[in-house]
């Protein structure tokens, strides 16, 4: 089985978010970057489990500059066989998906996997875009995946339940919680990752269709209004007359 997993660099969940250049750029100073959790814990680890069970290979692909190399090395340390980095600024989801599709189109991957969203731009788009561009079936928001021969069976979370879906490889899917358990790279993995191939390729032609003008932070929350636990009942009245939500 030949699997391609899209890996994105994202700021650690606990990062303080601020902006520079007149609020037009994300301030990366002091921010620790990680592999986007949905790409790592769910898509990559499930890809590795499928490879371990069925043979084959797992390649990761990232669109980004050399600053993405540390998180790509981590994916290699967790167990990916090799990695590709498209050397370009990931300006919007359409551009990123065009690069991934262009790379994947003639390489006969059985599965192209992404996380269900990145925790920075929260677009949930790249998987569906790649499926649209490669004209492959798309399984979105998948919490469980099994493959037997060329048939894939997947569970998709829907409002108030799950659907069990079946389709044929090759396909594209986006992964959510439940697909696999996080793997912590061990020393052997980290050493082995140094010798694995990280191929840097130039960007194919492609364009961004959207552009960020500027950022803003939510208005500061006014201080919490504390209610004495003895008078807890007052809360209900406040929610009605002041907050007007009940």
């Amino acid at each position: 089985m030949k699997i391609l997993v899209a890996i994105s660099k994202a700021p650690d969940t606990t990062s303080k978010i601020s902006f520079t250049d007149g609020d037009t750029k994300f301030n990366e100073a002091g921010v620790q970057f990680i592999v986007n959790p949905y790409d790592e814990w769910y898509a990559l680890v499930r890809a590795l489990e499928l490879k371990e069970a069925n043979g084959g290979s797992v390649t990761t692909i990232t669109v980004g500059g050399a600053d993405a190399d540390p998180i790509i090395r981590k994916a290699l340390a967790i167990g990916a066989d090799n990695a590709v980095r498209v050397d370009a600024t990931p300006s919007d989801a359409y551009f990123v998906a065009s690069q991934i599709s262009e790379y994947a189109k003639d390489k006969e991957y059985d599965l192209v996997m992404t996380g269900k969203e990145t925790i920075d731009y929260n677009g949930s788009q790249v998987g569906g875009l790649v499926a649209g561009m490669l004209d492959l079936p798309y399984l979105p928001n998948i919490s469980k995946l099994d493959v037997a021969g060329t048939t894939a069976t997947a569970e998709r979370e829907i409002q108030g339940g799950e659907e069990v879906l079946e389709t044929q490889l090759p396909l594209v899917l986006s992964a959510s919680k439940g697909m696999a358990e996080q793997r912590i790279p061990n020393m052997r993995g980290i050493m082995a990752a140094r010798a694995k191939k990280l191929e840097v390729i130039p960007a194919a032609s492609g364009e961004a269709l959207t552009e960020i003008i500027d950022y803003s932070l939510p208005p500061a929350k006014s201080a919490v209004k504390l209610i004495d636990p003895e008078n807890a009942a007052d809360l209900i009245e406040l929610l009605h007359s002041e907050a007007k939500v009940i």
């Binding site: 269900k116 079936p137 659907e163 439940g178 269709l209 959207t210 209004k225 004495d228 209900i236």
Partner: protein, 322 residues
């Protein structure tokens, strides 16, 4: 030019988020002085679909034969209708169906897609929208550079506003292509008659501070009196104290109800990422240093086992008088 809105349905019913999406599209159509078209899939009745008319829909195209499990066919149908009506702005509620379909439409039409939009669009000069970024910790203003703009609207962002309209329900009659995905089974969670979390306006949520699953009776009672839906934090769902579908937070559901009451939840950043867009947040916790108080509008520093019974009594009295 015109506006096309995908009206989401599930189990043969128009979703609450569909009324909001249609209302959102109606505002754009009225700002830009153009027509509003709607497309819906599945077996919702004509009466149900006609309800969209009171939110400003003119023509409603229906493709009855397919359901939400076929994002490719839905995208093919939407692309065809968008071309037919000359849509330059497409509005999709960015719920599980929107997330599945809109990116494929974006790829097919080479139309920019901005997902997670939380406010009305500015169409005075091109199309500019405001979206949530960094899991609710910031916003970005985004401009479209494509001929067709697809707006992925976060459910419960702007609400639905009634507007006069005289809808006409038409068969969409599109060429959707072959179904590539087979639905083998649908497993429904027993929601006990509650509104599903993504549609809930009131949510009562509890965490590890409750000490064990046997103590959820009072949470369910408070929720039931208020007409709220119950939710929980990740540890509680991981420990199987509560069903998986109740888990809200970064890896669970992201919700934005009008009221979120968090009981015995400390407010880890991963939890906040899923609930920080709630309009009013109430936190009840024994620890005055719990980070959740910083995100709260109302707080009670106290023991849930003493506070919640008082709230239940007060809620009962309130409901009896209102």
């Amino acid at each position: 030019m015109s506006v096309l809105v995908l009206a989401g349905t599930a189990e043969n019913k128009v979703l609450k988020s569909a009324f909001e999406a249609v209302s959102y599209g109606a505002k754009i159509a009225s700002d830009a002085g153009t027509d509003l078209h709607v497309i819906a899939f599945g077996g919702a009745s004509s009466e149900d679909l006609m309800g969209l008319g009171t939110y400003g829909a003119n023509a409603i195209f229906v493709e009855k034969s397919i359901n939400n499990t076929q994002p490719f066919q839905m995208a093919n149908a939407m692309t065809e209708i968008a071309g037919k009506v000359g849509a330059t702005i497409i509005v999709v509620s960015y719920d599980e169906t929107g997330k599945a379909v809109a990116p494929i439409v974006s790829a097919k039409m080479k139309a920019g897609l901005v997902a997670g939009v939380v406010d009305f669009a500015d169409v005075s000069n091109g199309v500019i929208v405001k979206k949530s970024v960094f899991s609710g910790k910031a916003f970005a203003r985004v401009k479209f550079n494509s001929e067709v703009a697809i707006i992925g609207l976060t459910p419960n962002s702007v609400g639905a506003k009634e507007m006069a309209g005289s809808p006409e329900v038409k068969d969409a009659n599109t060429t959707m292509g072959d179904a590539r995905i087979t639905l083998k089974e649908t497993k429904k969670e027993d929601l006990g008659g509650q509104v599903p979390l993504p549609e809930a306006e009131l949510v009562v949520s509890a965490g590890r501070g409750l000490k064990g699953p046997e103590n959820w009776g009072m949470i369910e009672e408070l929720a039931s009196i208020l007409g709220a839906t119950t939710a929980c934090s990740r540890p509680v769902s991981d420990l199987d104290w509560r069903p998986h579908h109740e888990h809200v937070g970064q890896t669970g559901l992201a919700i934005r109800p009008n009221l979120y009451i968090a009981i015995g939840i400390s407010g880890a950043i991963q939890h906040l990422a899923g609930v920080n867009a709630s309009k009013v947040i109430v936190v009840i916790n024994t620890d005055p240093e719990a980070p959740f108080f910083k995100a709260a509008d109302y707080g009670i520093v106290g023991d849930a086992f003493e506070v919640v019974p008082k709230l239940i009594e007060a809620a009962k009295a309130f409901k009896a008088n209102n």
